[in-house]
Point group: C2
Chain length 219, copies 2
DNA sequence: ACGACAATGTACGGGACGGTTAATTATGTC
DNA sequence: GACATAATTAACCGTCCCGTACATTGTCGT
């Protein structure tokens, strides 16, 4: 929730009464929540329109069709989350501390963005067919991995990490633990009880995630 | 794919021409594939019916409605996978070897049952609402964790494992790595390339999963 | 053999839902 | 101020799709 509406300042010409950018971003915000909640085929255009400040016609005016809207939402979700990740600087930390910090951050960050997780789950259900069409995504690659490359290089140089550690594989591990922790909460909690997902349990699991990664890289 | 149809022997009375059990299980098999492929709202009853050896009428006759069919599929998916897990005996192995074996097995088992993974993903998208209604599931708890409890006990007794290791938390880790490896393959592969998901990459990741868990539990 | 009932096939209704058509208002241009 | 164009509204349409009514056949008990 939070801001919800989504307003944008006009840059080019003078004052407008009509606010296309605002309408657009409002639609995307509503649609993101709705797709995250119900999936691509589960989400209802009429429902999205109703929760919007505008009408259904606008959705088709700006996004063409349901899939066009979904694609936009998907890209926006990635953009939003990755931008949140930028605010983390690890340069000033020792390599092992930096890695530990990165794991903690990723764990928490995923935990605080369940809608993003759900969108990614949904996209995976669709075999990544829509992400396939987006070329924005390729660039997000860079930033996510670069941090790990630097940490690995420094850790290896300092003799702290094993030399054969691969940044991409490390990223896979960290993502797996952080993602699963959110994505499979409902079923896991139902089968094995909710203990791991309370405040205490989450602190423990986060600690374990850090511990696993640290022990894995240690020389 | 594989057998596909699903035929069942009659137990009670003499020979039948009509085969309700066969029809039933045939529907479930088809529906499982279809739900796994398209999700709950994405799956089409008409499509399921068409791929069945029988008619749409039978689906409603046996399962009431779409959600009833989905619930059955969900339970059946868990049952099938858990029964596959039974065939693993670890008693005769040393605790550390047993644990390593369990991780390898889980990793491979998830990898060979993508439809099960997809069903669980879908169920999580639905907040586990349908699993909630099933009481069969509680019993699956037992077997899955018991193995780990025994391994932990033996490992601790032998002084190989840290004493504070919790079986449930261990299960969470193993599941996370094994599950994510399948569930997020499409998006991960799209963003970071398919290298990790070829034969070579998978062997590496499986090794890493084992390594992570082993290093984590080591005293 | 026959009645009861389980199992199955066919055809169709009704509503939800994605998408569109045509008209209306606001904004900038000359 | 008139005109072109962007932004927006409201009503509507056609189809996909879940579920059902009705008819029919097979099987078992007696």
């Amino acid at each position: 929730m939070g801001e919800g509406i989504g307003s944008v300042e006009k840059a080019s010409r003078g004052g407008w009464k009509q606010d296309p950018e605002g309408v657009r971003s409002n639609i995307v915000a509503v649609a993101m929540a709705e797709f995250a909640q119900n999936g691509l085929s589960g989400a209802r255009i009429d429902e999205i329109a109703a929760k919007t400040l505008t009408s259904k016609r606008m959705i088709y005016y700006y996004f063409g069709d349901k899939e066009g809207l979904y694609r936009t939402v998907l890209e926006e979700a990635y953009r939003k989350v990755r931008s949140g990740e930028q605010e983390l600087d690890l340069e000033h930390l020792a390599p092992d501390a930096a890695l530990a910090r990165l794991v903690e951050f990723t764990f928490d960050h995923h935990s605080s963005n369940p809608d993003f997780i759900r969108i990614v789950m949904i996209e995976n259900i669709h075999h990544g067919a829509y992400l396939e069409q987006s070329d924005l995504i390729a660039t997000l690659n860079e930033g996510a991995i670069r941090k790990l490359e630097q940490i690995c290089a420094r850790g290896r140089a300092a003799g702290l990490f094993r030399p054969e550690i691969e940044p991409l594989e490390l990223h896979w591990m960290i993502s797996a633990l952080s993602f699963f922790n959110v994505s499979n909460r409902p079923t896991f909690s139902r089968i094995f009880g909710p203990a791991l997902f309370g405040a205490e349990g989450q602190k423990t699991l986060r600690g374990h995630a850090v511990e696993m990664v640290m022990r894995f890289v240690k020389a």
